[in-house]
Amino acid sequence: MTATQPAPPASQAAQGPILEVRDLHVHFGTRRGRGPTARAVDGVDLQIQPGEIVALAGESGCGKTSLARAILGLVEPTSGEVLYRGEPIGRGTRALKPYRREVQLVLQDPTGALNPRQSVYESVAEGLRIHGVKGDEETLVADALARSGLRPPRRFFLAYPHELSGGQRQRVVIAGALALEPSMLVADEPVSSLDASVRGEILALLLGLVRDLGLSILVVTHDLGLAWNIADRLAVMYLGRIVEQGPTEAVLANPRHPYTRALLSVVPEVHHLETQILSGEPPDPTRVPDGCRFHPRCPALASGEAALAGIEHRCRNEPVPILRGVAEHHAACFLTDESVKKEGGSRVGR
């Protein structure tokens, strides 16, 4: 293990978030600009503190991967800002290069992420060469592999991806990211393509990286169990917006947004909630409904609960304020979140 990693989180907490997203929009044209615009990310505020694991959860098509790609500078935002340690990340390959060393990506499918014709050594060393990292390459690669739990590391140098198991491949991908000594990882569904018995091991590895190296991690997932396993904070996304966020325990033990409740109620092992299977098509980002964007599928509106509280017209017509990227538990819902109900306006939170 090398000694050049960032200091533990406590000393950095005073410096503010390591990553901040402000009013981010990512829109895509369809049919070469002739079709309707898809609002994949439609106004998101998010903060990630040093040494924190934040899980971003939601269904396919809710915009969570587009948000992650915008954070990495892989897609240019339509508007809004991504700030790293308080500075905008810039645009274009040259401006982004130092940032991309600091914030590394771990993809879902390690088999697709690794070049089948490159040995483990080559795969891990590639990033070091691109960034012109000084030092003994062999030692750096060995350190990164060991930190990812591939020990003894030198036994893996000449192995090719097909000789490794799925869990080992994902460890090689993580080693490739760690070799550059990043301060943050963005992991997109890091365990969803792995065998059940290996899943816990990879999650334990991520948790260990935060503990030992002080990394921050943004985990993009549709798996609320994963959030429960490792995340400090959970943000739930629906149709381009974060609809609920807060400490993981608070959000999962006491979900406020009807969407979070429905999502949680269909996890096979959660029995205390009545199962609410949302029917209908997955939401379409080219046709974002007026008012609360969840209202056409909202069980609380359908059951008359919203009408009883006298807010039905607000659900249907009034835009729901954007949740600020704060630590407290908030849901973008007129019915269940008092400050959203009272304040209204365009933003809620500190």
């Binding site: 269904e59 198991s165 609320l224 169990g225 325990e249 092992e269 299977i277 029917s279």
Partner: protein
Amino acid sequence: MLLEGEDVLTMRPGRLRAVRWTEAAVVFQGAMHALNPVRRVGDQIAEAIQLHDKVGDRQAATRVAELLEQVGLPARRAPSYPHELSGGQRQRVMIAMALACSPRLLIADEPTTALDVMVQAQVLTLLEELRRELGLALLLITHDLSVLASTCERIAVMYAGRIVEEGPAATVFEAPAHPYTRALAEAFPTIGDTASRRNPHGLGGDPPDPRDLPSGCEFHPRCPVSIAVCPTLDAELWPAGEGRRAACVHVRDGHPELVYQVPPGPMGEDAPVHKGMAP
């Protein structure tokens, strides 16, 4: 291997072709790859019907419409191509296709693995309704034990080519008698259970290479509670409580509590190199 009392392994190819789809049908994982991308989904369902029954195109189309409605898709989606449908809709098409010849047994191989939780819940509810309404037998194959526990009546757990535990779904999931079952059950945490909070449970090592299985109990190299006898043990399914059997020496010796000897926690930091890897 008997299907309705008839041995599948000795069937002639013609007979096999006749019973496939009419007696036993399968729903594959990853509907994107199992459907033909350049043919309309309605035609793909009709193909299965017309291969088995001598019916005209119009009759087949009527049956296709019925099947689509049965799996919760509007019949007007029949002329769609697979890429025009969402993942959940494609999986519904796969199920409609499997039901085309009214089978008695439906085998669903990881039917929800690539799907979101909400769509997974929709598909599982559909399978459950079909099972009840059509009196189907359902064999559900998956690595997610919590899905099995919430859908099935009985669970059989396989490791390295053998069944290592079987029994009623709820008891197998809640109180596993085999250490491998225990590892699978703990892989997906119960949300709200403080023991798994910031404490993901894994199993050290990797699944064994089927060409080079370990001696004795195949699970012993990864087993947290293995004892001296395990590498030479001739494991078989021993009785493990009401309606249950498990292939673990602790069950044979009447000490199933020993399966829980080792406190759960992250293990296997020093993962062994996979078999077959160059030295």
